[in-house]
Amino acid sequence: MSRAGEQRSKGANGWLLSTPALILLVFAASGPLLIVALYSVLEKGDYSGVRWILSGEGWFRVLFERDIFDQTVSLADANLSIFWRSVKLSIATTLITFALGLPTAWFIATRPTNTRAFWLFLITIPFWTNLLIRTFAIMEVIRNQGILNTALMNAGLISEPIQILYTDTAVLIGMAYVYLPLMVLPLYAAIDRFDFKLIEAGYDLYASRWQVLRGVILPIIKPGIVAGCILVFIPSLGAYVTPRVLGGGKNMMIGNFIELQFGQGQNWPLGAALSTLLLVVVLASLLVYTRVTSKDDRNG
């Protein structure tokens, strides 16, 4: 067989063997995303669903609202505050998990080889534990009669429980808690590859501690930092379970707002437009991520 022919048959085989997986995923994951995009430009049905008439109303309602009586258009403050909360809490979650995650990953990577697997396993358990269970666990801690408030009251620091549950703070604590392993794992992977002799070399060449950090450590673990931040930021932005359980319905994030449109809100086009918007934001951040990491690969 000619080389070109061989190449072609390799490709044909690859496609053939991948076909069942592709059919499954296109049918039950990727394909329906196109329907969401389509629904976002249709007219809202009477109760739920859509009417098959093109309409910009779904997208319009993402940012604006019309007065019921005189049809004046104004910015939808409720929506804006939900977007702002989602972005704010996601950034804060990313920062908190990074502040805790970097030292943790560093600690694991610098353990002796024989105990490293153990410490890593301690991160893997929460990582694979049901997100709902972890959310329940944090709820157990921060609720009014939970261990945190009880401990503070017994210590005489407060006289009555601090209301943490059902606030933005609760959602933030919960998200930082459930997504911490997602930050630690990629950071660990990056630090683990790092050759610690480079630090000694830096010091031998009279670099200050700060110079070693900026000039030696940071450039090498940067892909891990970017990966960890993306891996935490993306699920935070689309979070649904944690804000629903810990935010108690009032402190909605965009995920809950989307659900509302398909439930009580009965505005499928608006829900579809919000979903599409979230998808675009997430894919854009992924694109930035691949740009950053592939640039590093070329330079390295």
Partner: protein
């Protein structure tokens, strides 16, 4: 004379060990609390009423919990079998053949469930399946099995592909030299070597399916609660010790599978 900075042990950057230990404590304290409270006797979730297995008995005898557990297991077994089968084929198709045209497209589609926010996929499936339900009249577990199989594919695919990339082709080449047919080579050489990867992939797919909340919540028809959606539904009222007991059982189950996973993947060499 320039003073050389004090050489210090790089493995202990100042404060790092403290924060690391703090992280581990923060990660485990809530889980341990939840487990302890699941053994709490008495009706109050707020006061310790002595050690008791009461809530495990209550959960075990609760018909809704029994049904949800069986449903969760049926879906997870199907999802693990289907996703592992298609993922194994795809892994065989996309590794060890050299690169071919369109390979990136295959990667992107296979890993799509890892990239798209789950709430968006959930909404998409709600819209799509509700019209299929309307058109066909079928409203069984098939939709949940399909949806779970799809988002489990990347989790099954990754360990299988990792295993394949670690295997060299010499054994297969030897088999082919001995006039084994491609099928015989696959059945008696490739598959046995690949098996640990396949088992690892199936276990991950199983856990991922068992744990899923959001997509299940949107796709399920009335009366199709799985264990996680049942627990989420219970929360509308208050946190009950019963939910703690179910959580503890699920947690123990997850840890068992993870230990098994560690054993299976360790024998790689």
């Amino acid at each position: 004379m320039a003073k050389k900075p004090r050489a210090f042990d790089v493995t202990t950057l100042p404060g790092f060990t403290f924060i690391a230990i703090l992280s581990f404590v923060l990660l485990y304290a809530p889980i341990v609390t939840l487990v302890i409270y699941s053994f709490n006797g008495g009706n109050s979730v707020n006061q310790w009423g002595g050690f008791s297995l009461e809530w495990y008995v209550v959960a075990f005898n609760n018909e809704a919990v029994q049904e949800a557990t069986v449903r969760s297991l049926i879906i997870a077994v199907w999802a693990a079998v289907i996703s592992t089968t298609v993922a194994t084929m795809a892994a065989l198709g996309t590794t060890r053949r050299g690169r071919f045209k369109g390979q990136t497209v295959i990667y992107i589609i296979i890993n799509q469930p890892l990239m798209v926010p789950e709430i968006v996929t959930a909404v998409a499936l709600l819209i799509f399946f509700s019209s299929v339900k309307l058109a066909t009249g079928y409203s069984g577990l098939g939709y949940l099995i399909l949806a779970h199989s799809a988002f489990c594919v990347p989790f099954a695919y990754l360990p299988i592909r990792a295993r394949l990339e670690g295997m060299d082709m010499t054994m297969e080449t030897a088999a082919a030299d001995l006039y084994a047919t491609p099928w015989q080579t696959f059945r008696y050489v490739t598959l046995p070597l690949l098996l640990p990867g396949v088992i690892a992939g199936a276990m991950l797919a199983f856990i991922i399916s068992l744990d899923n909340v959001i997509i299940t919540e949107f796709v399920k028809s009335a009366g199709q609660d799985t264990l996680p959606t049942y627990m989420l539904g219970q929360l509308r009222r208050a946190l009950t010790p019963e939910v703690n007991a179910i959580s503890t059982v699920l947690l123990a189950f997850t840890i068992l599978i993870l230990i098994a996973f560690a054993f299976v993947t360790k024998k790689r060499a």
